[in-house]
């Protein structure tokens, strides 16, 4: 099965028309040394057997539905209505909307997505999406460096460690310097911002789950002539003060928490929001409203002089393919829930996380690490290696206790709760933890 429509007669007729004797003939001008190499691949399978093999592989996984694992990715409900609408072939199989007359569906959906993200972030504009939260952060920081003309970045240790690693890779590429501010008692301390800093970065709620009052840091960043970049879980912004309200110039994050399947880490999407003043420095696609020749409202890709296919070596970024379909799912989720529904989902996770905190702290040897107030994730100090605890819990059917990197301390594990958890789920996990740690 190869999905090609050609009959044998058609192939012969077409070969004749192009002056070739066989399909092999189409390659005869390639260097003989490289033609028809020995390649070992499994034999082709019929559709049912492909599915059978995939099911065999899937059976070797323990699905993490209702996982208590956190780290910015959580088990949330994916509404069937979102899944159904995003599966429509017109959305699924379209390319980047370069021909706006026949791409109004995707273009308007992006425009609406940009609006929703800007609203959540409390900023004026958002681009059409980035690959994930980590690359959105890296690109947001590069934007700040272009805007300020500086080459130094300060990042709080409260930013997700993987995001900081990606940021480091991107900054190494352009030769910019990254300085990390260690957390103090679980929060970002206010310190002296070094001269020549173009971007100051913090996360809220931070990696440990703690809420941070970042307004003083924003002010300090601005006094030092830097832009302030905030990493924020978009779900939390249904409840929490948006980054724009406490001085962020740029807000970024990962959209998985807006009801996207976890998918072993992807694809999700990264969002990137900023102020209108910086729009000409934005990487990636951007949609604007305009009118057609009859005066009808329509949507079109705009300010394309920022992008690689126009500006080549002078582009703001090399990004081309982004995460349009998953971003569309995020927008559909936001529209399906509305402001109230989003707030309710976020608050339920907060409440269940706090209940879980209480239950787990009753277990001997377990100590708090994340300071209060926290949101829907928190870190505890365990009496044993968290890798072993995670393994033992998995054997009991629970996905919990994400090991926290050693840079934050010894024997730390991250827990999260969401709208999917009931009181009895929390009790059952606590019971299992008690057994594991006994």
């Amino acid at each position: 099965m190869d999905y090609t429509p050609h009959t044998e007669e058609e192939i012969q007729a077409m070969l004749q028309r192009v002056g070739a004797g066989s399909l092999e003939d189409l390659y005869r001008h390639l260097p003989q040394e490289v033609l028809n190499p020995q390649i070992s691949l499994p034999e082709p399978l019929p559709e049912w057997a492909v599915l059978e093999e995939l099911k065999r592989l899937a059976a070797n996984n323990k699905p993490a539905f209702k996982a208590f694992l956190g780290g910015g990715i959580r088990s949330h409900h994916t509404p069937p209505v979102v899944q159904a609408l995003a599966s429509r072939g017109e959305f699924l199989t379209a390319y980047t909307p370069y021909q706006p007359e026949v791409s109004q569906g995707v273009l308007q959906a992006i425009f609406e997505y940009q609006t929703m993200v800007a609203e959540l972030a409390g900023l004026e504009v958002a681009n059409a999406s980035m690959y994930d939260g980590a690359t959105a952060l890296a690109e947001g920081v590069l934007l700040a460096l272009r805007e300020t003309g500086r080459m130094r970045v300060v990042v709080s240790q409260g930013v997700h460690p993987e995001y900081r690693e990606v940021l480091q890779s991107y900054l190494d590429a352009v030769g910019a310097e990254l300085r990390t501010w260690p957390l103090r008692e679980g929060r970002t301390p206010l310190g002296e911002i070094p001269e020549g800093t173009g971007a100051v970065v913090a996360q809220n709620p931070n990696y440990l789950g703690a809420l941070e009052d970042l307004a003083p840091l924003a002010e300090a960043a601005h006094r030092a002539g830097a832009l302030f970049v905030v990493v924020a879980d978009p779900l939390s912004l249904g409840v929490l003060e948006p980054p724009g309200a406490y001085g962020a110039d740029i807000a970024v994050g990962d959209g998985q928490t807006l009801g996207l399947p976890m998918g072993f880490g992807g694809p999700h999407f990264g969002y990137l929001a900023t102020k209108k003043a910086f729009v000409r420095q934005l990487p990636g696609r951007l949609v604007s409203e305009t009118v057609d020749v009859e005066g009808r409202r329509g949507y079109i890709l705009t300010l394309q002089a920022r992008e690689q296919y126009i500006r080549r070596a002078k582009a703001k970024s090399n990004i081309t393919t982004n995460a349009q379909l998953t971003a569309l799912m995020g927008a559909m989720y936001l529209a399906a829930l509305g402001p109230e529904g989003l707030k309710e989902v976020a608050l339920k996770g907060v409440a269940m996380a706090h209940r879980l905190w209480e239950l787990l702290l009753e277990i001997p040897g377990v100590a708090p690490f994340t300071p209060k107030p926290f949101f829907n994730e928190f870190v505890l100090r365990l009496p044993r290696d968290p890798q072993a605890v995670r393994k033992a819990l998995a054997a009991r059917g629970f996905h919990a206790a994400t090991p926290v990197p050693r840079e934050y301390g010894e024997n730390l594990a991250l827990f999260a709760a969401t709208e999917l958890h009931r009181e009895e789920d929390l009790m059952a996990l606590a019971e299992a933890m008690r057994e594991v740690l006994a």
Binding site: N60, M262, V293, T321, L334, L342
Partner: protein, 474 residues
């Protein structure tokens, strides 16, 4: 009439999905100061309104599922529905769950890595990059780390790209801190070897090539280019955007390339999704394997695991392990076709392109570089016709136009990639339409399209006074 936005359909107080039965009080957990003062102005719609809104939007959109979509260098082939069922089997996996509970996912990644290594002739691979351009950045950073490790990092500061290259190539090189120099194409549309020789030297870090190139021509002197770059200590980078033409027939690794990125959303049927998400695995030869991003997926005695212990790694380029669900689709595609199926698909993509090229020549279109094309070709309209108008005319006749005005070395370019999943009669109907357009009055062409959801849009206004959100007042 304007199609309403979701915000115009919104009514204050209307509710859609309710996922929570008992709503907790925020201030019980969170001090007042951290809470939002104003709710975000998100739409407030019921579920049926939501469904009608997005269904209506989808009807104002074309895709491969509705329309012939011959965008050059984009490989708009059919995206099998099987794959959409396949990904559901892996939706509920958390990246931080114990790897022993995700053995199936890791095995699938490892297997896909092996298949892709076999198809490209590479020794090691990362599946982490999220897109083609992301793979390019990863590949160039690997090359950079290699030169630095050998003490040549400072000296090698230039990346060479042909003048026919995709825009992402020079943009990537710039992002990795390199100076970009363009190498002109020769009269046959292939890299000008003499010009390349003049540019090569100890100051060059890499050459980025697409093969077949963006004119759809196979670089026949590739072995000579590889020899010259090897002699100059330059790494040869393969942009995999056009791999579809040669899958199974020839491998970048055998041609002398050191690094390859693949676009799983082109060659391996991951749907384009209106612009993404894609996936851009990067394969490398053994000498570059130590620099791959972390983690890599490996097979050990106790099953499959993630290896974070690569001391010379360039670091991470994305969170977690890449766009895993895209990998599931590519895996399913390769297992469905097998080697013979992939070779047949490649050959029919070439046959379709050559056949369509002949049909267009017959109807008066010019082929500026008329060599033996592979999966795509670049045409020009007859004198007096503007490519933009022909593209808009095609929209009126029910086709998505080819890529236009690219590559930059061809004026009024129409870059056509039909792919192997299109039938002979579709190609004929498309050629018929392009022929018909040449018979249309000039005014008709300049006014087209007429019956699409909107007609030509005011791009200047969008650039001068962009309105980027619904609440943006300009």
């Amino acid at each position: 009439m304007n199609y309403p936005t979701i915000f115009e359909r919104s009514r204050h107080g209307r509710r859609g999905l309710r996922l929570v039965q008992e709503v907790p009080e925020a201030t019980r957990y969170i001090p007042e100061g951290f809470l939002r003062k104003e709710p975000p102005r998100l739409p407030q719609v019921d579920e049926l309104t939501l469904v009608r809104h997005y269904t209506g939007l989808s009807r104002r959109q074309v895709g491969v599922d509705t329309t012939f979509y011959p965008l050059g260098s984009c490989t708009m082939k059919y995206n099998p529905k099987l794959h959409e069922e396949a990904v559901r089997l892996f939706a509920d996996l958390h990246p931080y769950q114990d790897p022993r509970t995700a053995q199936g996912a890791l095995e699938l990644m490892w297997q896909l890595g092996e298949y892709l290594k076999a198809l490209t002739g590479m020794d090691a691979i990362t599946l982490e990059p999220a897109a083609g351009a992301h793979g390019e950045l990863t590949g160039i950073l690997i090359i950079r780390a290699y030169h630095q490790d050998r003490g040549e990092g400072k000296e090698r500061r230039v990346v060479l790209v042909p003048d026919s290259a995709h825009g992402s190539n020079p943009a990537t090189a710039s992002m990795a801190g390199y100076e970009v120099r363009e190498v002109p194409s020769g009269p046959d549309g292939e890299v000008d070897l003499e010009a390349l020789k003049r540019e090569l030297g100890p100051h060059v870090a890499a050459i980025m090539l697409t093969n077949p190139n963006t004119l759809g021509l196979f670089e026949r002197r590739i072995l000579e280019i590889a020899r010259l770059s090897k002699e100059a200590g330059v790494q040869l980078y393969y942009d995999g955007a056009n791999l579809n033409a040669i899958m199974g027939w020839a491998r970048p690794g055998d041609m002398g390339f050191d690094v390859v990125h693949l676009n799983l959303h082109k060659t391996f049927t991951v749907p384009h999704g209106g612009g993404g998400p894609g996936s851009g695995p990067v394969g490398v030869k053994a000498h570059l394997a130590p620099y791959l991003p972390v983690p890599t997926v490996e097979r050990g005695e106790e099953g499959f695991h993630l290896n974070f212990d690569l001391p010379k790694s360039i670091g991470r380029v994305r969170s977690f392990y890449g766009n895993f669900l895209a990998l599931v689709r590519a895996w399913a595609y390769i297992r469905t076709l097998g080697l013979e199926g992939l070779k047949k698909a490649a050959a029919l993509s070439v046959l379709n392109a050559r056949y369509l090229k002949e049909l267009l020549k017959e109807r008066g279109y010019r082929i500026p570089y008329d060599g033996p094309c592979m999966h795509e070709f670049v045409a020009q309209p007859p004198a007096g016709f503007r490519t933009l108008d022909l593209a808009k005319g095609l929209l009126e006749l029910g086709f998505h136009p080819p890529t236009v005005y690219f590559p930059l070395i061809v004026k009024e370019a129409l870059m056509v990639e039909p792919t192997e999943t299109e039938s002979k009669e579709t190609l004929e109907a498309f050629a018929e339409a392009l022929g018909e357009l040449l018979q249309k009055p000039k005014e008709w062409l300049e006014g087209a399209p007429y019956t699409t959801p909107v007609r030509r849009l005011d791009e200047v206004r969008a650039n001068k006074q962009p309105k980027l959100t619904y609440f943006d007042e300009g």
